[in-house]
Amino acid sequence: MRLTGAQIVCESLLKEGVEVIFGLPGGAILPLYQTLPEYPQLRHILVRHEQGAAHAADGYARVTGRPGVAWATSGPGATNLVTGIATAQMDSIPMVIVTGQVARASIGSDAFQETDTTGITLPITKHNYLVMNAADISRAIKEAFHIASTGRPGPVLVDIPKDVFTEEAEFEYPDKVDLPGYKPNLKGHPAQIRRAVRAIDQSERPVILAGHGVIFSGAYDELRELAEKAQIPVITTLLGISSFPDDHVLCVGMPGMHGMAYASLAIEEADLLIALGMRFDDRITGKASSFAVNAKKIHIDIDPSEIGKNVEVEIPIVGDLKAVLQKLNERVSSATHLDWINRVEELKRDHPSMKIRETEKLLPQYIIRELSQATEGKAIIVTGVGQHQMWAAQHYKFTEPRSLVTSGGSGSMGYEVPGAMGAQVGRPDRVVWSVAGDGGFQMTMAELATMVENKIPVKFAIINNNFLGMVRQWQEFFYDKSYVATHYTGNPDFVKLAEAFGMLGIRVTDKKQVRPAIDKAMENDGPVIVDFVVEEEENVYPMIPAGTTIHNLIEEPAPEKARR
């Protein structure tokens, strides 16, 4: 079948089962857009800014497990994607991005809207392609989806010059990929698995530290089986949240900088740390050389380069978590670890990290609790980065997998708006709440128009403190309350803003209004903004300052710092 390059792109996407594309056209990618009417099966969602397209594709991928797809034109179109691509790369999100490039003859001449897209995205993609012939497009796209979605997932970019879209070539979709340099190890080394079993059987105070990999691998049941069979407390990283039910008796929550003090303390006291699909991020470890010093460490990850990168481990296993855990579970002995479980319960009692101070004021933590109850822990929660993100991670009781969608590694403010849009498109059957910061929300709020236009009913809970809250908290703690460039004194009226976009807006200033506002938002079948005007200088506790250890833990406000 002879087709144009543009048709080959669309045919290839259909072969990969793509149903939705987030994008925005421009000159170099126009030939591709002009073939879209021939492919009504491909739903295109026109965004307002390419960053929105990339974050939306990312959010779609996080909730569905399938690669998200974004399109953009050359030059500024491609550079606007960069934050979104880097966000996906840091959190290992499968994405395939197609960008238009200037025509082949113009490459390298600084032509209008030319930028070195593959050069710019090289360090922030798992792999990328510049496709110089229409005949090579189908193979590039086949490989792109394969690379994006297998092994440790990640974004793959395919850059296609304008005249390659119009060039004709024979189309035959390859049925397999030939990538001699890319063969992820899935099975796990049997001898290493035996060592891990022995270590688990011999341990007295084991903890599991479950990361994002559990979700990628779909190893929820296997994780639960291991935890229950050997009675091992489960601690989840930020991105591991929702891989294990928060209401499970063995769930200990999130450790680290703003994690539960008892989770960090349990890691400190453990004699065995079973790290599953996580990468010992500095927000988890603090000072890496002092992390879990009393524990032998088992690290199971699909990416060999994560083994020994930040923390040395005694028993590394490279493989797919689901496959490796199945083999582990067959051999691990049942255990009760009664003393240890009791000790962890004692830590929970002595360090009640989730305590909310008694006040009539509107506290962000209270809002998240109400949201958790109103949605019975079943909503998809999307956040940006900062205080609101930490409160959402701490106080929402997640009960279903793939329910916390958040920019972890990259910490991209503004993710919460388009990320939520992509999540809702991926899971129209679920309630999606974007817990947003007033700062991040304003970075990407142009996508509200996209949501109204496409009837994407995301509910926004803006935790509005008129501050870049987390930065302000650091200024309070470490810079003697010198609030440089963190106070917004001219925020827009978010209710009027909602109305301007053609959506419902609700303002909440009082505790008593919280639950009714949440209920009212969910009764509405379109996107809704709830502007929660909260205590401005509320802090996230507990906190372990960056680069330090659990011994520097700040559990709650010091009495003299207690406010007004």
Partner: protein, 190 residues
């Protein structure tokens, strides 16, 4: 080519696909991860469409472990071997332009002879010396020629192969790894 006295050097070879941009991917990874390359040499291998790169990397075992893993993570890199601990033949070629007056020419030629190097160009006031050998040999010759006045020096960077039957071909990977003594983390790539 500065030698950092405290950092040991390792020789790593990589078999890579001969595609546009591969060198950029490899170099970009080294830069981004902050790994130090002492030298890098690239050329065709015995397999069409595959090139072999030889890196001399500065760093402790942990750094080298990370370098090999991150190299291997690149899609276009097919095979990575750390051949530092093995029985290897390592060679580098250098061209040295050295000042040579009538009075000094014969002395230079004697030194060149001792090093089994060649004089490949003679001008009225200078010579070009071609020397092949491991890094130490080239460093030594350079030191000896320096008093005469080294005008220009260019080195190719080391290339290396295992001695005997050990090959860096990807097919032999599992066999090689069985032979070499396991180190921490090595099971990771088995």
């Amino acid at each position: 080519m500065t030698t950092n006295g405290s950092q040991p050097r390792h020789t790593i070879t990589a078999l890579v696909q001969d595609k546009p941009g591969v060198l950029n991917r490899v170099a970009s990874m080294f830069r981004r991860r902050g790994f130090n390359i002492a030298s890098l040499a690239v050329g065709h291998s015995e397999v069409p469409d595959l090139s072999r790169m030889t890196f001399v990397v500065e760093g402790d075992d942990r750094v080298v472990e990370q370098v090999t893993k991150h190299l291997h993570k690149l899609i276009d890199v097919i095979k990575v071997s750390d051949i530092s601990d093995e029985n290897v033949v390592s060679r580098e070629l250098a061209l040295i332009r050295v000042k040579a007056k009538v009075q000094t020419r014969s002395e230079i030629m004697q030194i060149v002879d001792i090093f089994r190097a060649n004089i490949v160009d003679v001008a009225t006031d200078s010579l070009i010396v071609e020397v092949t050998g491991d890094e130490d040999k080239i460093d030594s010759l350079h030191d000896l020629l320096r008093p005469f006045g080294v005008v220009e020096l260019i080195r190719t960077g080391s290339i290396a192969l295992n001695r005997g039957m050990g090959s860096a071909r990807s097919e032999d990977r599992s066999a090689r790894q069985r032979r070499s003594p396991p180190r921490w983390g090595q099971a990771a790539s088995v």
